[in-house]
């Protein structure tokens, strides 16, 4: 069974159709990238998947369960963790507190109003492990707001990882990074994905990044899917070249 399945998903804002009858799947273990030119509906699709906005039509299924009407935090509880296009952290907390708070969200006793030392210990353990996987252990005690741009990006990924997600959703993971920082981030993420065990859906417009990281691709154009498959096959698709890739290939 697919981990994530979209059926005929549509979002209209007044008269404007942002996402138009999109159907696609994400299989366990794959790293799928959704690409498309500006205004293709990538961000709207991402919002529909994470639950930030509600679909006009169609269904979102996660692990066979219908989650179309479920609020964002509920989907997260099922195992969907996300990162933001513009880095979203808790700037005054240390990096370690950031990942710990993220990990705590997966604890059944996350709401415990008194005591809770065991909850904290477990959350810190998972958070620290995530920091280590992304090579951030050396900045663990620094306030998140004072980290470098690249590290902040990675910290956000670490927070998602600390939740041990079944599906990791990334919204333009290299947005706003310098060329150098992008290269670094891609390297870290590449080895992370290569290590296996993660299912990832990422939205990205930087082709370099997509071809380095993705194992599958979906191409959006004006709210509709125009191609889907292996990166190389998609790259060769004339419709895609026409709509988007231009002279890239």
């Amino acid at each position: 069974m697919s981990l994530l399945e979209l059926r005929n998903l549509t979002k209209r804002y007044g008269g404007i159709v942002a996402v138009n009858g999109v159907s696609m799947t994400v299989e366990p273990g794959e790293v799928r990238a959704v690409i498309g030119p500006n205004g293709a509906g990538k961000t709207s699709l991402f919002h529909l998947i994470t639950g930030v906005v509600k679909a006009t039509e169609g269904e979102v299924l996660f692990d066979g369960q219908r989650v179309t009407a479920m609020p964002a935090f509920g989907r997260c509880q099922l195992g969907m963790s996300r990162t933001f296009q513009i880095t979203a952290l808790f700037p005054e907390m240390s990096a370690r507190e950031n990942t710990s708070l993220a990990a705590q969200a997966r604890d059944k006793q996350r709401w415990l109003p008194l005591g809770g030392q065991a909850v904290f210990a477990e959350a810190a353990r998972r958070g620290d492990a995530a920091l280590e996987r992304l090579g951030l252990t050396h900045v663990a005690h620094r306030p998140a707001g004072l980290l470098s741009h690249g590290d902040q990006r990675l910290l956000e990924v670490a927070m998602a990882l600390a939740q041990q997600p079944r599906l990791l959703l990334m919204d333009e993971p290299t947005q706003g990074l310098s060329v150098e920082e992008t290269a670094q981030a891609v390297e870290v993420l590449g080895s992370l994905f290569a290590a296996g065990g993660l299912t990832v859906l990422l939205v990205e417009h930087d082709m370099e990044v997509v071809f380095r990281l993705a194992t599958k691709m979906t191409v959006l154009h004006r709210g509709t899917v125009i191609a889907d498959g292996q990166p190389d096959a998609v790259k060769a698709d004339p419709a895609v070249q026409d709509a988007y890739l231009g002279g890239y290939a």
């Binding site: 994470t50 963790s81 808790f90 705590q104 997966r106 904290f120």
Partner: protein, 309 residues
Amino acid sequence: MRTTLAVAALLALMPLGLPPYAMTLLTEALIMGLFAMSLDLMVGYARLISFGHAAAYGLGAYTCGNILLHTDIPLPFAVLLSGLFSGTVSIGVAWVCTQATGVSFSMLTLAFAQLLYAVAFKWTDATGASDGLAGIPRRPGPFGTTFFASKIGFYYLTMACLFGGFLFARALVRSPFGAVLRGIRENEAKTLSLGYNTRLYKIAVVAASYMLGGMAGALYAPFAGFANTELLFWLLSGQVLIMVIVGGTGTLVGPILGAAFFLFVQQQLSIYTDSWALFFGVIFIGFVLFAPQGILGLARRGRPTEQHR
């Protein structure tokens, strides 16, 4: 913990040396301190800036006043019950108010408090309308003891409520629940996306805050022997917010100090001038402009930062 015990011991010794009027003032300061601390739970830990916290105080005071006037429930239980009642009512209030965020949230809380004020002004049977509830007694008990009805006994009851409330609030903000509140304070959208139902957490913290604030009001009713609509008025909401901000938000102790500070200064100034509110206003503007972290925040900034959660 050691500091808390030392302060408790010091306060416990106060009745030995202070004249009655000073004990009255000190008791009122402790009540106000509890009230300000309760607001800090919302303002300092979840950035829920309430402009209507008098609602909690007034609810507690009227509830306790009615319990003491019309039943034989002993004073300490009446105070606890009133706090619980206030906390329960607030769940509805919070459900509505947390529809909004930011300044709109503040306005909604103000509107709610004013609605209660308007109702209290006309609901003669429960509130005595503009005449208020007079002659609120301090019922004896439990177990027939009249200790809490005496001036000193009442002081100890107030002290117990303040310290109990403080320990409860401190445990709350240091718990996993408190960690989520801190997340909401710094970045609510992110906290939501991590899988926390932030609205429930906000409603819960409002309820806890109203419960403690309600207890403070519940103590005030038998303290003054009187309760009227003034306890629901927006001016009180504003004053307590001033105490919290000047004392230092997100510190629990700061607002208690802020309340005591303003009460003593007001008492001293009102001997010489009726214009003590002028002083209130100027100090407050100064703090918002130059030291938004408050007295305790200033003091802590001077020290090397400690690892605190």
